[in-house]
């Protein structure tokens, strides 16, 4: 089992979940985050004090998948998250972490059953 973390643009969230639905991945967790990356931000100014920052708004997805779902999941995210055909800086990243176990709280199912 894998724990997939993807950082995407906020406005692509719906298209990513749409793509995920297509490959039957319909459980996930979403949260707003800020990202530093290749895509640069801008100087900020507060009460006449200048700050060098470049945090941009992003969305983080977390998806626990069984191994056979990993490849389709990644593909679906990529498809949904790209701004255009060739992709643009800032479109985001996907991280794949190992996952030892899952427990579904209501039923106490564990392992790949529970995902």
């Amino acid at each position: 089992m894998k724990y997939v973390i993807a950082i995407i643009r906020p406005e692509r969230l719906d298209s990513v979940t749409r793509e995920l639905q297509k490959v039957e991945v319909s459980r996930l967790t979403v949260s707003p985050v800020s990202g530093y990356g290749a895509q640069k931000g801008y100087l900020e100014v507060y009460r006449a004090v200048e700050l060098e920052v470049n945090l941009l708004e992003k969305i983080k997805l977390e998806i626990a998948v069984n191994d056979d779902f990993l490849a389709p999941t990644i593909e679906a995210i990529q498809k949904g998250a790209k701004t255009n055909e060739k992709g643009e800086i800032g479109d985001g990243k996907i991280f794949v972490l190992p996952l030892d176990d899952v427990v579904r709280i209501s039923t106490s199912e564990t392992g790949s059953e529970a995902i």
């Binding site: 406005e11 719906d14 895509q39 931000g41 941009l56």
Partner: protein
């Protein structure tokens, strides 16, 4: 003529109420954009308070209200020359009149900003507002209220034509140069904070009592009439929008109800002191349904009037102007009093204003686009205008 203290008090508090609509508008619009554009959107309303207030006392008031020709006022009162604290206009000090009218000059261009959020350069926005105030607002204000060729013809109690039609149609016109936001129609762009929009709606309605009832320029029975119509019409419009939406989508949304209230406020504006409360009820119901459908249509036509300035102010303002020609019974006569000529005059006023506003706005847009450039780069749009235009963020940890 000596001033009447009660009228002075009423116009002063009304002026304050109208200025209070600007933070209201900032919230109304600011809640509907994404987080990354919230300050930019709010600044669109705030900075107009700075620019147009100064413009108004320097030259705008004179262009709109000093004696001139059929088209525009003269320069007799630039820098408020010839006016001092003892000057009067009607039963109030002229300074009160200047301030009250200045508030209208401020809110009108600010309304346009709802169409251009998320993609206009800040410096170009400032230039646009400045030019538009002088080229579009001041003359149209002169036409209708300042002694120009529509004065005494088209009925416009508190600015249906002067304020809402000019801004609504100009919002549409400027999109010729600004196009759509990136991802519009593909990605879903949701309001980042609907509670802000609701607070904004509250401020707007509150302030609108000053806008409409203050336009009586006296604390008299016409003010009371304008007050109660401004109370009834938005209530009815909120309900009719909500009903249309409930019917159409199965969901009565808070955002829809708020937008309906706004549509009702817009539509009753030209009529406020001319119609009975029951006519206001009718105007409200019509405005809610008509504007709802206008906003629906946008999706089909595919232009990106981001926060529906045209659908609400353009369409609502037009509906209101025409319905004023239908329902006017107090101090004027409309269609239901058998005066079809008034309806024609209303129609004429709407069309002339629309044409003029479109032509000028496109002209201004063209010049700015060629010089300063109107639209930010794709990358700036992606990052958001708060960071790229203002160097700050709405929310920090």
């Amino acid at each position: 003529m000596a001033i009447v203290f009660a009228d002075t008090a009423w116009v002063l508090i009304s002026s304050a109420l109208v200025l209070f609509m600007l933070p209201g508008l900032a919230l109304f619009y600011g809640g509907m954009v994404r987080r990354k554009n919230v300050l930019s959107s709010m600044m669109h309303s705030f900075v107009v308070m700075g620019i147009v207030a100064v413009l108004w006392v320097v030259v705008g008031y004179s262009l709109a209200f000093s004696e001139g020709n059929w088209f525009v006022g003269g320069l007799d009162h630039i820098f408020l020359w010839g006016i001092d604290y003892n000057s009067t206009t009607g039963t109030i000090p002229t300074y009160a009149f200047v301030a009250f009218q200045g508030m209208f000059a401020i809110i009108t261009p600010a309304l346009i900003s709802g169409a251009v959020v998320g993609r206009i350069k800040f410096k170009s926005y400032i230039a646009f507002i400045t030019l538009w105030s002088l080229i579009v607002y001041a003359p149209v204000c002169h036409w209708v209220w300042g002694g120009g060729f529509l004065t005494g013809e088209a009925l416009d109690f508190a600015g249906g034509t002067v304020v809402h039609i000019t801004s609504g149609i100009s919002a549409l016109a400027i999109l010729v140069f600004l196009g759509k936001r990136k991802g519009y129609g593909v990605d879903v762009i949701k309001p980042h904070n609907v509670t802000l929009t609701l607070i904004g709606t509250g401020l707007l309605w509150f302030g609108w009592f000053g806008f409409n009832a203050g336009s009586a320029l006296a604390a008299n029975e016409i003010a009371a009439l304008a007050f109660i119509t401004t109370f009834v019409a938005p209530a009815a419009a909120g309900l009719s929008w909500m009903t249309a939406e409930w019917w159409g989508t199965g969901r009565p949304t808070a955002l829809g109800f708020a937008t309906g209230i706004l549509a009702g406020l817009v539509a009753i504006t030209p009529a406020a002191g001319f119609v009975t409360p029951m006519a206001a009820l009718a105007i409200g119901v019509v405005a809610g349904v008509v504007c709802y459908n206008a906003v629906m249509l946008k999706g089909k036509l595919g232009y990106d009037d981001s926060l529906d300035v045209f659908g609400v102010h353009g369409v609502g303002g037009t509906a209101g102007a025409l319905l004023t020609g239908v329902f006017a019974t107090v101090g004027a006569a409309g269609l239901i009093s058998g005066n079809s000529h008034q309806f024609f005059l209303q129609f004429e006023g709407v069309v002339i204003t629309m044409v003029y506003a479109i032509v000028c706005t496109i002209g201004i847009g063209f010049v700015l686009d060629k010089t300063l450039g109107l639209k930010v780069s794709v990358s700036e749009e992606n990052i958001g205008l708060d960071q790229t235009q203002h160097g700050e963020k709405g929310y920090n940890f």
